[in-house]
Subunit: 406 residues, 2 copies
């Protein structure tokens, strides 16, 4: 008898027929004797439809964010009602709950609210009475009774937060993939589904482009030590369990390979190597709303240094314009850039105790004559920047070199 | 400086363009210096869309009505958000309110809840601070925090109840007609818009087929003496003011002519004239869900009597089947019926003190050789049942005979 929080995303509840299949998954667990709390997103393209209605008005000034939350929270409300009706019809005592009815209290940052507290008393009581609670993801209520929404990946966050508050045995995120793979199966055909992965690895993979789970939900799960499972809502496989590192767990050296195309790099050469130089360069970039990914600064010579960072390709020309101005102000020698690069990253907790990973990686790439333009490492990750045309080849080469296939 | 509650129905807010026009109406009053509270329905066919989603599941058992309310209340939530955004963009300090946020407390009769209380403190405070509240019609909350909906005509009821609770100067219902007319302008071209009409007259007209306002909203307005105005959301006319009868008001003899086609009458002849006979006949009819309109029983002869009632034409054959069974049980002489009848009703408070109305009506119809099959009267109404083919002719004849034209 375990307690599972099961979360189903938009593609899993895109129609009444889809919702029927979701009900199958839920009923399976109930029939095995488990307690289940369900969290759902808005149906398929429903949120897009609501957003486009608001875009017809196109107002972003004072008060807009509050009203947008009133609008956007509607999508999940429809799904909880329909799923509850389906479960009721099948003879299960389901009951829908809005964010406020679960008592998901948030701050007042509309469109990107943070959960402050969850009062699980009501849900606990319902569970004791055999009720199957169906909870609207993505939404909460601030202390003045306003509807709030949690921003991107909000329903995942709701599920994890609920699982943490209820002390659930697992938070199960159902999506349109079979789990977390050693790399993208569209690039490497024999990529392998991982049985387990640590939160740290998952965080590195999520932020590097394996967009299965939102970073925020993983952080939340990690912080509250909620075992997180990612599985397919269209299949019966067990998916991947994301959990904290156990001592007994024989960690593989490398868990997976993440990659990201559509990147661009910019370099400012020969700037004075003094304190504050990094923020003088990156300040104007981030103020303009451009997100910076990798940042590299190598050793300096002659009191001057070179400074490189990467951005999304779409932001390349704007970033270049800003950087050129900054270069003039700082009296730098030169500005250069390349908008045809890609990033490949190897992730694994086993890497910590295994110094040979980096050299093995570089050697494998060299064998295929793939030149490495930049290198950056963290505790459990090595990233390299290469010419974009070698991206698929690099991923396949590394996948084979580290025996990640099935 | 008056306070107006302005309510806009589904056709008035069918698109963002429509909502822009609704904003014009609201702003006009604000600019004149009035305080305004807005109540809106769901956009156009939105409620139909939601209902059809639930019909795909088709579950009506235990718990269904609660979940349906969760689903159906979504429509109004979308509208309040969009209208608030439009008003904000135009520089007005609008703010949306769900039923529960206004504190519209209802009983727990899902799908047809009754308003128990409205706590106007919050809205009053907002009005004092110059806020323009935009309230979701049709919805409330029961004492356990469940969403409830008010059933048919629910948004009108919300508007009237709010106007009563706030002590508003007028509750203005905007719809797709110019106001209340002496009769249907599609039948009588020169039908005249009424400046004023009493609640009693309006109730008779509403229940007789002038489907502009829901009976329940009129009853509510009448009970709490809220002046009610019906006007067009697509035009600038003043509409019709529905108000309680004032002594100073020179009441016209006849205010309007209502009519209803698609009716059928059923008669059971020669039943024993004893106490309980009416319920013995009508009980089985109403138990089967058929709504009965007129009921007539004339004097009896030889200890037996004849009993006639009318139903909607769609229910005719089912009603006839039931009545035939009842007839056998009661040992009645005969059952007869006619499914090609129509009802024409003249309504007016002036009628009370003017005995000549009935004879003038009958005379006008006789002149056109229209035979009267049944007659039924109330304090302020005379209804006749005639052959359906004469319906338009009868309405036009009476409209002219009583000088109702423009």
């Amino acid at each position: 008898m375990a307690l599972y929080v099961k979360k189903f995303g938009g593609t899993s509840v895109a129609s009444v027929a889809h919702i029927q299949r979701v009900a199958d998954k839920i009923i399976e667990d109930k029939e095995t004797g488990h307690d289940v709390v369900v969290v759902v997103s808005a149906m398929g393209k429903e949120t897009d439809r609501l957003v486009s209605l608001s875009e017809e008005i196109d107002y972003r000034g004072n008060g807009a964010s509050r009203e947008l939350d009133v609008l956007l929270s509607v999508g999940e409300q429809v799904t909880i009602s329909l799923l509850s009706l389906v479960l009721l019809k099948r003879g299960y005592q389901a009951e829908s709950f809005l964010g406020r009815q679960v008592k998901i209290s948030t701050d007042s940052s509309h469109n990107k609210a943070r959960i402050v507290d969850i009062d699980t008393k009501e849900i606990q009581k319902k569970l004791e009475n055999g009720v199957l609670p169906v909870v609207a993801g993505f939404q909460g209520e601030d202390e003045r009774g306003n509807i709030t929404t949690l921003g991107r990946g909000g329903s995942d966050t709701t599920a994890v937060a609920l699982a943490a508050a209820l002390g659930a045995d697992e938070c199960q995120i159902y999506t349109d993939v079979q789990g977390i793979f050693t790399t993208d199966p569209r690039v490497v055909e024999n990529a392998r589904r991982l049985e387990r992965i640590t939160f740290e690895e998952m965080l590195e993979l999520a932020s590097l482009g394996s967009r299965v789970l939102h970073t925020r939900a993983i952080e939340f799960a990690s912080k509250y030590r909620v075992p997180l499972r990612v599985a397919s809502s269209f299949d019966t496989g067990p998916g991947t369990l994301i959990t904290y590192e156990e001592k007994s767990m024989e960690a593989p050296i490398i868990s997976g390979i993440a990659f990201e195309g559509d990147e661009a790099k910019l370099t400012i050469l020969g700037v004075e190597d003094v304190p504050g130089i990094a923020s003088a360069i990156l300040g104007p970039i981030s103020e303009s709303g451009i997100e910076v990914d990798m940042i590299l600064q190598n050793i300096s010579a002659d009191m001057s240094t070179d400074f490189t960072f990467t951005v999304n390709r779409d932001d390349y020309s704007q970033a270049m314009e800003i950087l050129t101005k900054v270069s003039d102000q700082l009296g730098a020698r030169e500005v250069s850039g390349d908008n045809r690069i890609a990033k490949v990253s190897m992730v694994g907790v086993g890497m910590r105790s295994h110094a040979g990973v980096a050299s093995k990686m570089f050697e494998a790439l060299a064998k295929e004559s793939i030149n490495i333009q930049m290198i950056s490492t963290s505790e459990i990750k090595i990233s390299v920047v290469i010419d974009e045309k070698y991206l698929e080849l690099a991923v396949r080469t590394l996948h084979a070199a580290f025996d990640l296939e099935e």
